[in-house]
Each structure stands twice: as C-alpha cells, then as structure tokens.
C-alpha cells in the first residue's frame, strides 16, 4: 500500500551556490543522476553538522527545482530557512562543500490529465515546490494562479523566474508589509471564484494546510497538499512522521508522511490531530 519512492539514491553532493534571498537561502547542489527522477512535491533528506555532528538525524527539504542537465550535470535546488541548529549549519555552507543527500523521496503532486484551472497556495518556504509544479501544470495547458503568504515580506519566496510560470500571483502578509494584509485563506475563496479554480495545491505549515483544506472542501475542490511532519528518517523505517489519513475504505490509519506523503489528498487527512489519536483510528 505504501508508495516507496524507488528512485531514491544516496550520495555525497556538492554545493554549487548558496544565496541569501529574503529570510531564506536558495541553495543549488550538483547531484548527478539523483535529479533524473525528481518530481514536484518530492523532497531530499540531508545529513547535517558534518563529521563530528551531535545531530544524528537528517533534515528534509522540499525540492524547489531540479534539472537533469546543464553545465554541472544534474542539479537540485532548495529554499532553506535558517531556523534551528541543522538548517543554520546547512545555510552556512560554502560553495564546493559536500553534504550527504538522499533523494528523491516521497510522493509528488498528482497532475491532472486534462487542462484544469489550478490554484497553488504556499506558506513561507512552502512556496518552494509550487513553482516546479506550476511549470508542469502550464506545460499541460492548465491555468495556474498562486497565493503566497507569510508573516512578513522577507518570508515570501517568489523569485522572478518563478513568477513567470503563473498566470497571477497574490501575496499576503500578516503585517501587511507587502501584498494583502492577512492570510492566504483571506483571499482564497475570492480567487477560487475569480479564476474558476478546479483544483487546489498547497504546501506550508500544517495549520495553514488545514485552513486551506476547509475552504477547498466548502468549494468542493480536490485539494492536494504537501504535509510537514517531523521526520527522523525520511525513508519510511522509523514511523515517527505519521498522521491519521482515511484510506480507500474510509478506515483511518496512521500513515507515514515520508512515504505516503508528503503529498496527500487533503480530504483524506484528519486535520488538527497533533498530540491526539483521532477516535476511530484503526487499531486504537
């Protein structure tokens, strides 16, 4: 039942570029063949802290872009927020430094077989996987509108080349420093109506995904979201990253977000279930 990403490869990869963009670092890695099978929504898992690290677990990052050709062969790009110990170490790396990477991991966004109107919603660095997704959707003839939200302007990641792949981009910030003052969900309904959205894609903090799901549900829209649970392994062997999800038969099970996700069907996720097992979950 689980969808192991059989394309995953483990390798030492080289930092090609590391640039500060607002609150984030845009990082490019020379990854060789690892880039071949990366799809929008997949993630990478990186060892952090170097040889003598006291941090024993990998960190997961959504793939922002990947390319299997070019000057440096295959590349994978990430958008990293210097948050805690691990991400600060990563964003402190220099060009030519090496990191150990396992990728591509996890599920990818489902792509409609017909051209549809898609609304993409990202929170903070959650915008990262959406630009690659937008490109694929555009190639398939979809209309792509995007909402990006964050607490403040520096936390909106929306590079120029990314903007090119969307029909419209609406930005919200909680402090109103740029774009509409408020949250992505404040403008979501209006944009669904305006652009006749037929499918919603989202990536960002769990609370945002949950709110987006609620609105998608009231509009009867399919909602594909990339969830973010704490992951110890990223490859499906530890069972730390689970969340309750309804299966085809309506049974709620604790599924691994690294293997059955990160991209999941929003409708099936039992939201707001941190620190509790929802009633009726299989086996509880």
């Amino acid at each position: 039942m689980s969808k192991i990403n059989r394309k995953a490869i483990q390798a030492d990869v080289e930092v090609l570029s590391n640039k500060k963009v607002g609150a984030y670092h845009h990082m490019v890695f020379a990854v060789g063949d690892m880039a071949l099978h990366a799809r929008p929504g997949n993630f990478v898992a990186i060892s952090v802290g170097g040889n003598n690290s006291s941090m024993i677990l990998r960190r997961a990052f959504a793939i922002y872009r990947s390319s299997d050709r070019g000057q440096y062969g295959g590349t994978i790009e990430l958008v990293v927020a210097p948050h805690g110990q691990g991400s600060k170490w990563l964003t402190g790396l220099q060009i030519h430094d090496q990191v150990n990477m396992v990728a591509p991991l996890g599920t990818s966004f489902g792509i409609p077989t017909e051209p549809v109107n898609a609304l993409l919603i990202g929170g903070g660095y959650g915008s990262a996987p959406l630009f690659g997704l937008a490109e694929v959707l555009k190639e398939r003839g979809c209309r792509v509108d995007m909402i990006l939200g964050a607490s403040t302007a520096g936390k909106i990641y929306a590079p120029l080349e990314g903007k090119r792949s969307v029909n419209s981009l609406t930005v919200t910030t909680e402090d109103g420093a740029t774009g509409v003052k408020g949250r992505v969900t404040d403008v979501m309904s209006e944009l669904i109506d305006k652009h006749n959205a037929e499918i919603v894609y989202s990536c960002g903090p769990m609370a945002m995904l949950s709110a987006v799901n609620e609105i998608a549900r009231t509009h009867n829209l399919v909602h594909q979201c990339a969830v973010e649970e704490s992951m110890a392994c990223g490859i499906g062997v530890c069972m730390t990253c689970v969340l309750p999800v309804k299966d085809n038969d309506g049974v709620v099970k604790m599924l691994r977000s690294c293997i059955d996700g990160p991209v999941m069907d929003g409708e099936r996720v039992i939201w707001n279930s941190s620190r509790k097992i929802p009633e009726g979950t299989w086996g509880s």
Binding site: A8, I56, L57, G236, M239, T240, K253, M254, G283
Partner: protein, 316 residues
C-alpha cells in the same frame, strides 16, 4: 536451516543463537527497518544477519499520537507506541515478502499480558521460514499496574517461560532487555533460566525532552525511548556485565552502533553480533558500512572470525 549465504569464504562472520546460524554479524534492530522493503532499495537484505521486524502485537495498534520524536545530543527520543497491523496482517503481508526476498527474519513480539506473548508464540510456531523470535519485554504489563515486564524479574521470567512453552523446539528465543533497571544481570539470569537462547541488549532508555516554547513535553506521549550513540556506553556496559555472568549465552548488541568501531566495541564486550537501529535513520546504508568496517577492523587485528573476538575485553 536459517542459513544465509555470504560472499566471504575466507572470513567467518557467523554467530549462533540457539540452533540457528546467522552468517553476517549485523542485524537491523526492531522498529528501525520498517517492513524491510524500505531498506531493500538501498542494499540487499540478504547481506544482513537477519531483519528483526518491528515488535508485533496480537491486535492492530495505532501507536501514540504525534509528535513522536525529538532529536537529542547524539541521540533521539521516540514514542511510536508499537504501531502495527497486528499479527494476522503482519503474517499475511510482511513475512511472505521478506521470505520471498530471501531475507533471514527474526520476528519481534510484544504483549500486554503473559497470555498475549503465549498466543503470539503459538501463532509463530506454525510459520515456516522464520529464523527466530525476539521477545520485546519492554512493554507495560496491564495486569501489573502497567509496570514494564522487563523491569520485573518475575514478570520477565514468566513471559519467556510462556513463549518457550508455546514456540516448540526449533526457533531460538532472544529476550530483549531494558537498561532501565537496577540490576540487568539478575533480569538476564531469570530469562535465561526460563529458556532464552540469547539476549538482545539494550532497548532504549526512558527519557524526556521539554519544548521550551510550548513549555510542555515535546512528545505527545511525554516520555520516549532514548537511542543512538549517546547511549552506547550504557549498552557496552550492559553487554560486558551480562557476558561476564553468562559466558555461553549469545548476545545481540545494540545501542548507538553506527560504525565498525562501535560494533567491535560491543563484540569485545561480549556481543556475538550487533543490531543497527537509529543509525539507519541517519544513513540508510549504515548496516553495510558497519559490516564492511567491522570485517576490516577484525582482519587488521588478526582475527579469523567474529567468534574469536567475542568477549576478548574480559581477558585479564
């Protein structure tokens, strides 16, 4: 016969638990290798001594709520709460896949009562192809105020006794002990007297992390099991103490093994083989790294087999 072939004809890496011989001295630790499939994309499972499956209960279990993990200095806490599909579905889905892929399999079992362990043993005696049973007794005993079996010598003995009586002759029983006890040697003595063929040392240490922002325990289950390199000195000590007391009982050493050097430490302390747990999370190919490095280190020291190196730190 439960014997897997290995590529090395010149160097004997085998260990023996009960009647079964395992050709490679590196196993995966229970709960740290998924269903086997997930690691199989990184290396052939036939390279392992055995896959030790996630502890399985009679009934399906949803496990604990999330967050289930917290990273700690050179370690981590987990509180999975033994999530699993229950023995029936496990035997239907996981075991056939592992056997079809020629993996050696040791099934880890967990129960809430002595009778549950007995039932699990009865189910497993009929299963062809498995190579052993690991009895995880670090589980709360519902019949005794939730006191963990492994913390009580009498309860530990009862569980192994029940498994022994129900498993039949062939399958080796490995009792997995908790380090969270005053006297691990006496617990070891009890389970050996009840018929354990080998011991798995050690399970996780009980720990807690508090999130200074939410001001609450980070894990939904409040406490969790501490694993990883941080606990290795405790594991080596437990192995050394138990091997000193029971020289003839094979020990499967675990607790922070991430390199051949770590494995060798445990073997010198008295382990016959090692299990890789948390290291799989940081490095999907950790087991292969440990195996290769261990072979190199042993050969460099003039050993012709793993067996020769077991317990050498006890020599005066």
């Amino acid at each position: 016969m439960g014997i897997v072939m290995s590529q090395d004809f010149d160097f004997d890496m085998s260990s023996k638990f009960g009647q079964k011989t395992f050709l490679a001295p590196v196993f995966t630790a229970s709960g740290c290798a998924g269903s086997g499939k997930e690691l199989a994309q990184f290396f052939p499972l036939t390279e392992l001594g055995a896959v030790i499956t996630k502890s399985i209960a009679l009934k399906p279990r949803s496990g604990r709520a999330t967050p289930r993990m917290a990273e700690t200095p050179s370690g981590m806490l987990n509180s999975i709460g033994l999530q699993g599909p229950g023995i029936d579905q496990f035997l239907q889905d996981d075991i056939p896949w592992l056997l079809a892929n020629k993996a050696n399999v040791i099934v880890s079992i967990s129960g809430e009562t002595v009778e549950e362990y007995a039932s699990l043993a009865r189910r497993l005696r009929l299963v062809p192809g498995i190579s052993g049973i690991e009895v995880n007794i670090s589980c709360p005993n519902v019949e005794n105020r939730g006191l963990v079996f492994a913390c009580d010598p009498v309860a530990s003995k009862e569980v192994i006794d029940a498994v022994r009586r129900n498993i039949g002759g062939e399958l080796p029983i490995i009792a997995k002990l908790s380090p969270d006890v005053t006297d691990i040697v006496s617990i070891a003595g009890e389970v050996i007297s009840a018929g354990a063929d080998g011991l798995a040392l050690i399970n996780t240490l009980l720990g807690m992390v508090i999130d200074i922002d939410t001001q609450k325990p980070k894990l939904a289950g409040k406490t969790g099991g501490l694993s990883g390199p941080a606990i290795r000195p405790v594991a080596v000590r437990a192995i050394y103490q138990v091997h000193a007391a029971f020289r003839n009982i094979p020990i499967l050493g675990m607790g922070g093994v991430a390199s051949g050097k770590d494995a060798l430490e445990m073997i010198f302390a008295g382990a016959s083989a090692v299990s890789i747990g948390t290291a799989n999370f940081g490095n999907p190919t950790a087991a292969m790294k440990v195996k290769e490095e261990l072979r190199t280190l042993l050969q460099a020291r003039g050993f012709n087999s793993v067996r020769e190196a077991v317990g050498v730190a006890h020599r005066e």
